[in-house]
């Protein structure tokens, strides 16, 4: 069963995942850019996989290419679920 998509639930999953990629937990916020967090395209491919596994929301390469900040990623997942 996929977890119900709420902004809070998505934020939690994203915030928990980013440190696994080496991001400094103290720097993670909605406004932080992936570039600042040193999160690159390979990390985002992994993040997409985690999100799909958790929420059954698929993110395609085109979507992922457009997002710049942690907040963008959360909003995108929430909008796709809607």
């Amino acid at each position: 069963m996929a977890t119900t998509v709420t902004p809070e639930a998505v934020e939690k999953v994203v915030y928990d995942a980013l440190p696994q990629f080496g991001a400094d937990p103290s720097e993670i916020s909605r406004d932080a850019t992936f570039e600042e967090l040193d999160v690159d395209s390979l990390d985002l491919a992994e993040l997409s996989q985690i999100i799909e596994d958790e929420f059954s929301v698929q993110l395609k390469g085109d979507d992922v290419g457009k997002i710049k900040t942690v907040g963008d990623a959360i909003d995108l997942v929430v909008s796709r679920a809607g």
């Binding site: 990629f21 080496g22 390979l42 996989q49 799909e52 596994d53």
Partner: protein, 396 residues
């Protein structure tokens, strides 16, 4: 070889610990890195050397290579700045199998949870060139980089090919070596199915009771430089790579040619390339796997090329068989041993085998009495597929 090739830095991660000197000194002292029938690099903790991201982005065999390269570059004096145009510094790290641990973990995910569970990092981590890529990126080396893939000869092939890159003028320096991390369920089972592994879990090269090899893991990296440029920048020269010879048995996928023909050719080519004769060689670091076939064929080959008197020993008696890393790890140990004028021992040697009558330096290291001569050594590496690569190393 016309352009002189020198070694200015060495690094290693092995079952004897992290560090090239640790490897050599423990081997010389007769210590073993083999436990429970395996030579695992138990003292290696990647998080001590690499960031979270670097650890995630590298299979264990690439992690070994990165850490060994840090040591080698630091010794060469390259830590703060590479003393060459980085476009002219190549990277060449050999491996027998590559990231098989990554492959196995992700194949299990595929079977158990389906294709969506497979990590996007699978291919970039398991590909055989990933150690070369990791080392090149780590140090910003922008000359050519790729991997040699020739089973247990891969490390020696890498070093020999690296020397040729410098000699042909394609590079001024090369960061080279070999790496392997194949202590995995599939690789262990597969070598077991071939009946290549020691049932007793004992590595005893050349001994009458040898019954197969013991698997090990690790890496070694060397910095090779054009001798003239290295001297001009005041580098400390650890050794010269005086010669390199390689050949193929063209005989069998796993068994060596019984009369050692391919090995003989590679050893002779290496000597010829170095401009040395049989009597110049004071030590042979044997491939010495502890398999019945290799140790017999290699004995025949060494006898044919060098006669019966030269001291011969096998590092595999102490750390097991590091497969694609073996040739590089053994070259590093040989360089350090020649600097000390020491023949390190073949451990676990107790029972002479009929026809295997070389001086195997049993169980205790021996000082080489070479009366001020150069210490010239051969380091042999032979691989499944009939690949033979031999390095002639010289310490003044």
């Amino acid at each position: 070889m016309n352009r002189e090739i020198v070694v200015t830095g060495v690094g290693a991660v092995t079952p004897l610990g992290v560090g090239a000197r640790t490897l050599y000194e423990r081997w010389r002292a007769g210590e073993s890195g083999i436990q429970d029938g395996q030579g695992a690099a138990t003292e290696f903790d990647p998080t001590e050397h690499l960031t979270v991201k670097q650890v995630r982005r590298a299979d264990r065999f690439s992690q070994f290579a990165m850490v060994a390269s840090d040591e080698a570059l630091a010794e060469a004096g390259w830590k703060d700045e590479v003393p060459y145009d980085v476009e002219r510094v190549a990277t060449l790290i050999g491996t027998g199998i590559g990231g098989i641990g990554t492959l196995e973990v992700n194949h299990k995910k595929l079977l158990e949870s389906g294709p969506k569970a497979v990590s996007p990092l699978s291919i970039p981590l398991l590909m055989g060139n990933s150690a070369s890529a990791a080392v090149s990126m780590r140090h910003g080396l922008r000359g050519q980089s790729f991997a040699t893939l020739s089973a247990c000869a891969a490390g020696a092939h890498a070093i020999g090919t690296a020397a040729r890159m410098i000699q042909t003028g394609d590079a001024d320096a090369v960061v080279t070596g070999g790496s392997e991390a194949a202590l995995t369920p599939l690789a262990t089972a597969a070598f077991g199915a071939l009946d290549a592994l020691s049932d007793k879990g004992i590595s005893r090269p050349f001994d009458a009771e040898r019954d197969g090899f013991v698997m090990g893991e690790g890496a070694a990296v060397l910095v090779l430089e054009d001798g003239e440029r290295a001297r001009a920048r005041g580098a400390k020269i650890l050794a010269r790579l005086a010669g390199y010879g390689a050949s193929s048995d063209a005989y069998h996928l796993t068994a060596p040619e019984k009369e050692g023909g391919g090995a003989i050719a590679a050893m002779e080519h290496a000597l010829e390339d170095a401009g040395y004769g049989p009597h110049d060689v004071v030590y042979v670091n044997a491939h010495g796997t502890s398999t019945p076939l290799n140790d017999r064929a290699e004995t025949i080959a060494i006898k044919h090329v060098l006669g019966n008197d030269v001291p011969v020993s096998s590092l595999k008696s102490s750390i097991g068989h590091l497969l694609g890393a073996a040739g590089a790890v053994e070259a590093v140990a040989t360089i350090l041993a020649m600097r000390d004028r020491v023949a390190p021992p073949t451990l676990n040697y107790e029972h002479p085998d009929e026809g295997l009558d070389l001086d195997y330096v049993p169980n205790e290291a021996r000082t080489l009495d070479i009366n001020g001569k150069k210490a010239v050594a051969l380091s042999n590496a032979f691989g499944f597929g009939g690949h033979n690569a031999v390095l002639c190393l010289e310490v003044a």
